[in-house]
Symmetry: C2
Subunit: 417 residues, 2 copies
């Protein structure tokens, strides 16, 4: 009973390139975690004839069809009508959904301003399972038509993905007599091919659970996936594999099922009631931005300096201007002075200093772009890494911030830095 | 002669959700600028049979088929073989391309480490137009098969998009006996629906050129597009429309065909030989990051403070701690003190201060998330905007940075702030 799903994303804005199809990506990740194969994504505009043609093709090659978009109140929104027609089901007005839509407007606007066409969203396929929309107005739904399961989800990513998690995932799991469960092992400090090299014999020998690596943003993630009768059984099956990965990769693993490296470090700092301050030069605010992307960052992140010019390195982080005049800003000493300076200035437990060349051009002394110094002033002393991060301004900046986070993580968990 | 294109993106990583299909999005934008319709995007894995099936479908509904991905050296990379088969053309070894691939490795690694399978990339369809890859190893190509134009491009976004711009766009333009030319008008300070309201009569009356609005990152962009016999004629046709838009939207327009608001401001500063320093609280480094995303930012951006805690507001930007203790950090005075403090500290021509609540939670005094104060200390005095930016942590932060940039832009171009 291996299911094959196809995702059909509906919206002319996708074909014009005005929107990125993150819905198909995010649904695919979750389908893969459920063990459901995806063979095709299709994107089609707000055009009923072309959507119908796409549905006919999908019917011939998938047994789960998931649409995103085209459920809204405007005349462009034709997904429900088109799919109902394609599968020969009737649309029925749901008084319950109409009431939910009315109260959505009551809570947000003056009720009398609700355009009447919003009630179009309350028409749903007969006998479908309704997916209530707790994040917007258009409800989604699922129904069975012959051997095909059809799901329709709204297009806005927040509504689509929240609804998929809350409503579609349980629906899909209930269709199956087994469960698919995954754990993600997060790794920093090794490339994807190095991880693969170390784990290849293990990966090849595994059937259930399976193990697969993914690379992103200068990190590697390993996904362990088991297919069994229950979540408990799946976890039991995965435990020895996870232990084996741990024994092979050791402290390069920074977390299991964690959100991000910055969240891991922020949680560690908050847990230990410690604080951090950051002086960044070539990363230009990126590390601070990444930490403050997280709501609640202020519990550990005090602030920092974006010390782009030499003068700013002195004024904000207290770096010795004579040293800078003599040696320039790209060296270990400057990184350390920045880390120590900002730590002292903001009275933090940790200070970070990042200085280097993001490129694309070399500096006047011929220093190669990608040469970056990352220093951490910790309670017991100051550490520094000299890095050669290759090419690509964005990539260099992401990797340099990752290294700073890695140093704090290793310090706080008692590892060698 | 209205062309219809279909983009087929090849790669199992897309179906697993490990990669976002930005290639299809970015190519779509450029196709739309060329006046070429796109009716479908298809994503298919590294599977020759399924790719062939997708190509057969595309043949029946498009006359331009563009593939991305699957041109590399590994055994997964089957796009060329599959399309050659589907269109009945032969693959021929190109000694010229082989030499380019060899020299790529010579310049980057020890030559003897080049895996022999890299030469697979030198096989190309007979009589095709070769698209040289100046950004990687796999060349792309275009060929004509009956009434269909086929283009194959590499998958990595930098290679794909650079090659599309440099090679595919001229190829597609040459296919046509008319040219499609666009200009983008960039607007800040009005929502998409407000822009549409003001321009609706004009937009409805227009046929050639056309005018269409797009919203992104808290900004609106208007695209004017003309279809004529030559670039010069197109520009002549668009000029009155652009002038009319200018007279309607006035100084809400910050640029025509510019890259971004931050680039516009940076260029203005550099042109006037002036400098800027930034103290950001709720934006947490985002504005500094956006400016330093641009290579050459150091010519005008001196640095700044990420003054997340009250102590950091005092230490880095000199905000009066007694005032903060009494009034808290979310008010006009704090924003102004931050702007003035960082300007003085770094001896800059402009100082920016941003303080407010990005949320999602209100503060202890019940201040609504989305309330943000953006101040600019300019050579002739200090200005402040009190903003209500609604919901969404990321959105609030982007909009607050946009407002800061807008204030500097308006000051430097002599407009009311």
């Amino acid at each position: 009973m291996n299911h094959i799903a196809e995702i059909i994303s509906v919206g002319t804005e996708l074909l014009l390139g005005n929107t990125t199809n993150t819905d198909a990506r995010d649904i695919s990740i979750m389908l893969s975690e459920l063990g459901i194969n995806v063979y095709y994504h299709t994107v089609v505009g707000d055009n009923p004839a072309r959507l119908k043609a796409a549905v006919e093709i999908a019917k011939s090659r998938a047994d789960i069809i998931i649409t995103t978009g085209g459920l809204g109140p405007t005349c462009d929104d034709l997904t429900k009508q088109t799919l109902a027609e394609a599968f020969g089901v009737k649309l029925i007005f749901s008084e319950e959904e109409a009431e939910i839509i009315r109260s959505y407007f009551k809570n947000r606007l003056h009720y009398d301003t609700m355009p009447e066409n919003n009630l179009q969203q309350a028409y749903l396929p007969e006998n479908c399972t309704v997916f209530h929309n707790d994040w917007g107005t258009a409800p989604g739904c699922a129904f069975e038509a012959g051997c095909v399961t059809v799901m329709m989800l709204p297009g806005p990513p927040r509504e689509c993905i929240s609804m998929f998690k809350k409503c579609a995932v349980p629906y899909l799991r209930a269709m199956s007599d087994y469960v698919i469960r995954s754990h993600n092992i997060h790794i920093f400090g090794m490339g994807e091919s190095a991880v693969e090299d170390k784990l290849r014999p293990m990966m090849l020998a595994m059937e259930n659970p399976t193990l697969a690596p993914y690379a992103k943003n200068g990190e590697v993630m390993l996904r362990v996936t088991a297919k069994t009768k229950s979540d408990e059984e799946a976890d039991k099956l995965m435990e020895p594999a996870i232990e084996q990965v741990k024994s092979i990769l050791g402290d390069k693993i920074y977390g299991i099922d964690t959100e991000s490296l910055e969240k891991t470090v922020l949680d560690l700092l908050i847990e230990k009631d410690m604080t951090i301050a950051i002086a960044e030069s070539c990363t230009g605010g990126m590390l601070s931005k990444r930490l403050t992307d997280i709501s609640g960052a202020s519990n550990a992140f005090l602030g920092g300096g974006v010390t782009y010019s030499n003068h700013a390195k002195f004024e904000l982080a207290g770096v010795d201007p004579e040293f800078l005049a003599e040696n320039g800003p790209y060296n270990e000493e400057t990184a350390k002075m920045m880390a120590e300076g900002i730590k002292k200035r903001l009275d933090a437990d940790f200070g970070i200093g990042i200085t280097g060349l993001a490129g694309p051009d070399p500096d006047e002394n011929g220093l190669e772009p990608g040469t970056v110094f990352v220093a951490m002033a910790a309670p017991n002393g100051t550490y520094c890494r000299k890095l050669h991060l290759g090419q690509g301004r964005e990539r260099i900046r992401v990797l340099a911030s990752n290294h700073a986070l890695d140093m704090v993580r290793r310090y706080l968990t008692g590892l060698k830095i």
